[in-house]
C-alpha cells in the first residue's frame, strides 16, 4: 500500500537501483551478506527499537545491555566473528544502539598495548563477558591534550604495586562509556611516577566493581555522568581513585615496563599509537557519519514527495515540496555529499590498508600522510554531514522536529562526532601543520607524499571555462579546487613567515594564523574529496545508467561547493564574476535533473523501515497514518496526568454555571 505520490517517483528511475546498491556495498556477496544479517537481527524482537523515542535514560540503558548480552549469544549461534566483516553490518543493523562498545575498546587497547602474557590473561575473560571493561582516558578537566592528564600512578617498590590517585576534581575520569554503571574493570591512563620522577602517561588495568555483587571496590568512587544530548543508551561515567593499589603486572607493558626495583624501560615504536587513532577515525566516518546522513536524506527526500504545500501554478493542485527549487537546493546537495563522502571513506580505507601493509614491512613512511588525511577528513566530514543532517531536519518543517521523524536523534547523535575522537579544530590544525611542512618541502624541491604533490606544481592563472557547460567538466572544477587549496596554503605560509620575520615568536605567529590555517586544511580536504569522486565516477562502468547519474551527483557536489564558498574561488580572480554566474547557472540547472532520480537514489541506500525508525521516511510513504499511530503509543497518552486532579480540576470546577 504505497502512497501513490511516492510510487510514481519509482517508475521513472534512469538507472538500476539494485545495481547501485550492490556498488555501494562493494559487490553482490556483500549485499547478500548484509541483507541476511539485517534480516536475522531485525527478525529478533530483542533488537526492536520500536519504543525507543518514548524511553527514559534508565530504560534505554537497560535495553542496550540486554541487546549486547543477547548479541553475544546470537553471534555465537550464527557464527559471526568479532573482528570479521560482520561487525560492520551488525552495527548498522542495530543502529549502534547497544552497550559494551567501550568494552571493545578495552579489549583493543589490551591487544595493542599489552604483552602476550597480559593478552592471554585478559582477552579470553573479556571475550566471554566474564568481566566488563571500559577505557578511562579523558578527565573532567582534560581532553585532547593527553600530556595534561592529572591522574597519578606511583610505583611502590616495597609492595610491588602502583598506587593510583585522583589528586583533584579536574583529574576525575569523565565521559568513558560503559563505566557509569556496567564496567567491572577499566584501563586507566595516569602519569607514572617512580622514585619521585614522572615518566608520562601510561595505561593500567584497574578493577572498579566487585565481581560478586557489583559494588564499588575500595577507594573507588564511580557513577553515571547524567543526561546528554543523545547516547541515552550509554552509561558514560565518572571515576575517582583514592589510593587504589594494582599489582605491577597491571601496567600494560608491550612498549614499556617497570622492573621490580623501579627501573623503567621503553621499547618499540610509539608510532603504532597513531595508527590506532587513524583506524578509529577512518571507521567512524562510515559508521557514525556517512550512514546517518544517508538515513537523513532518505527520510527527508521521501517525505518531500509525499508532502504537498502551496501551489506552483494557480489552479493546479498543491505541489510536492520537492518540486520547489528552494527545497531541491536544500536536499539534493546533501544527497550528493552522502555519495561523495561514501567514496572518500572507501579511499581512506584503501589508503589505510596500503599503509598498514607497509608498516608490517617496517616501512613507516606513509604514517604522516595517513595521520594528516584521516585527521582532516574526520573533521570536515563530521562537520559537513552534521550540517547536512540538520538541513534535512529543518527541510521537513514541523514534522521533522518531532522525535518520531527519526531526524532529531540522527542529528543529536552525529553532532557528537564533531567532538569525540579529536576535536575538529585541533584536527584541522594538525592537517594544516602537515600541509605547511609539505609546502615548504615542495618549494625546496624535496619529495612530498602523493596526495600533496600538487603543492609543487606551478599556479594556474585563470580558469579556462567559457560557458556554463564547461563547468560540467571534472577537469575544470577539480583544477579550480586545486588552485584554491594551493592559494590558501601558500598565502598562509607566507603570512606565517612574514610574522616571524617581523619578530613575532613562532608560537604566537602560529596562533595568529590558525583561522586561516583551518581554512587551508578544509580547502585541501575538499579538493581531495572532489578529485577522488571524479576519479571514482570515471572508473564506473557506463552500464545500467549508474555512471551517468553519479556524474551528475559529482558535478552537483563540486559546483555546490564553489557556489557556497564563492569567495575562495573569486579572491584572486581565478574564477571571474561572469564565470561564477556560469557556475550558478549550471548548479541550478542540475537540480531538476537529479530531482527526477531523487527517490531511487535514496532507495539505493537500502535501509529497512526498522532501521530508519521514522514515521516520515518509510518505504511506503504512509506518513500521516504512521505519525498518528505512533503518537498514540506515547506515554503521554497512556496516563491521565496527575496535573488534572491537582491543578486543573480546582480551577474548572465551577465554570459550568457560567457558560
Amino acid at each position: 500500500n504505497v502512497n501513490p505520490d511516492l510510487a510514481s517517483e519509482r517508475q521513472t528511475a534512469s538507472f538500476s537501483v539494485e545495481k547501485l546498491t550492490v556498488w555501494l556495498d562493494g559487490g553482490v556477496e556483500c549485499t547478500q551478506m548484509r541483507r541476511a544479517m539485517v534480516e536475522a537481527i531485525e527478525g529478533d524482537p530483542v533488537f526492536s527499537r520500536e519504543n525507543q523515542y518514548f524511553q527514559s535514560q534508565n530504560e534505554r540503558y537497560e535495553a542496550a545491555v540486554r541487546k549486547a548480552v543477547h548479541l553475544q549469544k546470537k553471534m555465537h549461534e550464527m557464527g559471526w566473528t568479532e573482528n570479521g566483516p560482520e561487525f560492520k553490518h551488525i552495527y548498522r543493523a542495530v543502529s549502534g544502539d547497544i552497550a559494551f562498545l567501550l568494552h571493545r575498546v578495552f579489549m583493543k587497547s589490551i591487544s595493542v598495548l599489552g604483552s602476550d602474557k597480559q593478552i592471554a590473561k585478559w582477552i579470553p575473560l573479556a571475550t566471554q563477558y566474564q568481566l566488563i571493561g571500559s577505557y578511562a582516558q579523558t578527565e573532567l578537566g582534560h581532553g585532547t591534550y593527553l600530556q595534561g592528564l592529572e591522574t597519578t600512578a606511583v610505583f611502590d617498590t616495597t609492595t610491588q604495586e602502583f598506587i593510583l590517585n585522583t589528586p583533584k576534581i579536574s583529574a576525575m575520569k569523565w565521559w568513558p562509556g560503559d563505566m557509569g554503571r556496567s564496567a567491572t574493570h577499566t584501563v586507566v591512563f595516569a602519569q607514572l611516577y617512580i622514585h619521585g620522577k614522572c615518566y608520562g602517561v601510561h595505561p593500567f588495568i584497574v578493577q572498579i566493581r566487585s565481581l560478586q555483587d557489583h559494588s564499588l571496590c575500595p577507594g573507588i568512587i564511580a557513577g553515571d555522568i547524567g543526561p546528554k544530548m543523545n547516547f541515552e543508551h550509554a552509561d558514560n561515567g565518572f571515576l575517582m581513585l583514592q589510593n587504589v593499589r594494582v599489582p605491577r603486572e597491571n601496567m600494560l607493558n608491550n612498549f614499556c615496563e617497570v622492573q621490580p626495583d623501579g627501573t623503567y624501560t621503553r621499547r618499540g615504536s610509539q608510532q603504532i599509537n597513531y595508527l590506532t587513532m587513524t583506524t578509529v577515525r577512518i571507521s567512524l566516518i562510515a559508521d557514525e557519519v556517512v550512514i546517518p546522513l544517508m538515513k537523513a536524506c532518505t527520510i527527508a527526500i521521501r517525505y518531500s514527495v509525499v508532502r504537498r504545500q502551496s501551489k506552483l501554478k494557480p489552479g493546479e493542485e498543491e505541489a510536492k515540496i520537492l518540486d520547489y527549487q528552494t527545497q531541491q537546493e536544500k536536499l539534493l546537495p546533501q544527497l550528493a555529499a552522502a555519495y561523495a563522502f561514501h567514496c572518500t571513506s572507501d579511499y581512506l580505507q584503501q589508503l589505510y590498508d596500503k599503509g598498514y601493509s607497509e608498516i608490517q614491512k617496517n616501512n613507516f613512511d606513509m604514517l604522516p600522510e595517513l595521520h594528516a588525511l584521516s585527521s582532516g577528513f574526520k573533521a570536515i566530514i563530521t562537520q559537513y554531514c552534521t550540517s547536512a543532517v540538520e538541513i534535512c531536519l529543518r527541510a521537513c518543517g514541523g514534522h521533522g522536529y518531532s522525535l518520531l521523524s527519526g531526524l532529531p536523534s540522527l542529528y543529536t547523535k552525529i553532532l557528537a562526532s564533531c567532538i569525540y575522537e579529536g576535536e575538529n579544530t585541533i584536527l584541522l590544525l594538525q592537517t594544516a601543520r602537515f600541509l605547511i611542512k609539505c609546502f615548504m618541502a615542495a618549494r625546496a624541491g624535496q619529495p612530498v607524499p602523493p596526495s600533496v604533490t600538487y603543492l609543487a606544481a606551478k599556479k594556474l592563472g585563470k580558469c579556462p571555462a567559457r560557458n556554463k557547460l564547461d563547468f560540467l567538466s571534472p577537469d575544470i572544477y577539480t583544477e579550480a579546487y586545486q588552485h584554491t587549496a594551493m592559494r590558501l596554503i601558500s598565502s598562509t605560509a607566507a603570512k606565517l613567515q612574514d610574522l616571524m620575520q617581523s619578530g613575532v615568536k613562532k608560537h604566537d605567529a602560529w596562533n595568529q594564523c590558525t583561522v586561516q590555517l583551518v581554512q587551508a586544511a578544509k580547502a585541501h580536504c575538499h579538493y581531495i574529496t572532489v578529485k577522488n569522486f571524479t576519479e571514482t565516477v570515471e572508473k564506473l562502468e557506463p552500464r545500467a545508467g549508474i555512471q551517468k547519474i553519479m556524474k551528475h551527483l559529482c558535478d552537483l557536489f563540486a559546483l555546490h561547493g564553489i557556489f557556497s564558498n564563492a569567495g575562495a574561488f573569486l579572491h584572486d580572480g581565478y574564477i571571474s564574476g561572469a564565470q561564477m554566474d556560469m557556475v550558478t547557472a549550471s548548479y541550478l540547472d542540475l537540480l531538476p535533473v537529479i530531482r527526477k532520480d531523487a527517490v531511487p537514489l535514496v532507495d539505493a541506500f537500502d535501509f529497512t523501515d526498522k532501521s530508519l525508525n521514522s514515521a516520515l521516511g518509510s518505504y511506503d510513504g504512509q506518513v500521516y497514518q504512521r505519525l498518528y499511530e505512533w503518537a498514540q503509543k506515547s506515554p503521554t497518552n497512556k496516563q491521565i496526568s496527575p496535573a488534572y486532579e491537582k491543578y486543573l480540576k480546582p480551577l474548572l470546577h465551577n465554570t459550568l454555571s457560567k457558560l
Copy 2:
C-alpha cells in the same frame, strides 16, 4: 568563591558593566523592575528548574501546569498585569517553561476576531482559567498554506449550528499547544460551507473536553502528539472532529457573519490579520531568539576562560581556551551578533509602534514594509542565532554536549523558531517579493518605503578603502553591504525578466529564481542590521566606555559578515581581493581586542545562575564542582539498574575463580 581565572577577567573591563545592562534594558527603571521580578520568581520554589534535565515528558508537563496555575495567583498577589510590560520579564524569568501559552493565543484571537458580545462572554472565563483554551490552525497535512486547510464547518440552517468535521487524516489538527491534555476549548480554523458553497477559512470556538470530568466531548478524538526535540513541557496535541455541532454564535464574527438564513456578510479590513502575525514575529525575536543566544554566549564565554587546554607557548601552563584565535573566532562573532540583533529587535519594535499608531489613524501605508521586514528578519535572525547557539555548544567540546551545560536545550528549543510562525524560506520569499516590487517601482521613479530608498540610488563602482583601518569605518562597510544587497536584488530582477521575456511562464520563472531571491532577501536584512547597528552606536553617549566597546562589536559583526560571505562582495569587483585581505586583517585584529572584554560583555546580559541553569556558565565559574554535584543527582545514579540482576550477574558470576 569565584574561580580565579574567571575573577581576573572582571578586573580589567574597559566599560561599566552596570551601565551597559541598564542600556540593554532600556533604562534604570526597567532594570530595577526586571530584577525585582526575577527575585520574586526565583525565590519561589514552585518555579524551580533544578531537576529539569532529569525529568520525563510527563513530569515536565505536570511542572509546567503547576507553574502556570501558580503564576496566575502570583500575578494577582503582586499586581502584575497580563498585558503590561511585566509579562516579558516573567517569560524571561521562567525561561518560557510554563503551560498555557496557547491559552494566551486563544484569548488574543477572540479579542481580535470576536465581536464585543463574544469577548464579553469568553474573555472573563479565560482570564480566570475557568476554561483552558487552545488555537487549532495547523493540520497534519497543512501548515503555512492556510488556504489548503481541509477541516470543514457546514452551516445547518435548521438547527442554527455549524457541523465540524475532519474529512480525512491529513485534515487532523496537529501541533497546537495546550491541546494534547489541558484544553477544554479551542479555536478551530475550518472551511466554511453554506448551502454547498465554500467561503474559505473561518474560526470557530469548539469545546473539546468536559468541564465536569475533563473527558473528551462527543465526536472529539484528541491527544498528545508525543515527544519532540524540545518543548517537553508543552502538550502539543492532535484533534479530530466527527460531526461536532457548535451554535451559530460560536463563529468568531468581528469581520464576517452568517445570518440565520445562511446569508454571509463580510466587513472590515483583512489587513489587521497581518498585523497580528507581525507583532508575534517581532516579539518572538527578542524572547525566543536573542535572549537564548545571549545565554549561550554567557555560558560558552565564561567556560572558555575557566577551561584550560594545551599550551600556547612551550614551558608555560596550559592556556585558557579563549586565548586561542580559533576559539575567539568561534565565539566573539556570536557575541557581536547577540548585540546586533538586540538592536534590530528594538528597531523593529519601534517601527511596529509607529505603524500601529498610523493604523489607528486608518493609515495602512506602512503595512507592506512592516510585513516584509518582520518576515525577513524573523527568518534571518532565527537562522543566524540558531547557528550561533550551535557554535557555542560545539565550542565547549564534550561538556557542551552534556545536558547539564544548558546548551543542548537552548539549541533544541531555538531550532524550532526556524520553523514555527512561518517557515523561514517562505518568509524570505515574501520579503523578496516586496523587494522586487519596490525595485521595479524605484526604477520607474515611483516612491518606495523608507527602508528601501537605496534601491533608487545609483550603484557605486568600487569600494574606496585603501588600507585595513579604512574597514573600521562604518560608512565603508555599510556601503559595501548596501551595494551587495542592491546587486543581488537587481540581478535577480533581471534574471526574472529575462526568463519571462524568453517565454517562461511567470510562476515557473519565479520558481527558477527562488534560490537567488532568498539570497537577495537575506542580503537586504543583513544590510539593514548593519546600518541600524552603526546608527545605534553613533547615538550612544561616549561616557563610561560603552560607545567604544559597542563600536568594536559593530565592526566585528560587519566584518565577520563580509569575511564569511566574501563571494557576495567580491563578485562584481566592488571589493577586490587585496581589499578582502584588509577586511580579514582588520577582522582578525579585532578578536584579541574584544576578547579582553568578553566576560564583562556577557556579564552585562545580567542572567542569574538559576536562569542559565548551566553547570558550565554560572557566575562563579566553579565548572567542575558543579558538573560533579549535578551528575550525582541524575536518576541513573539513584537506582541500581535492573540490568545488573537480569543480564550482568549471570555473565559475571563465575569469573572470580579465573582471575
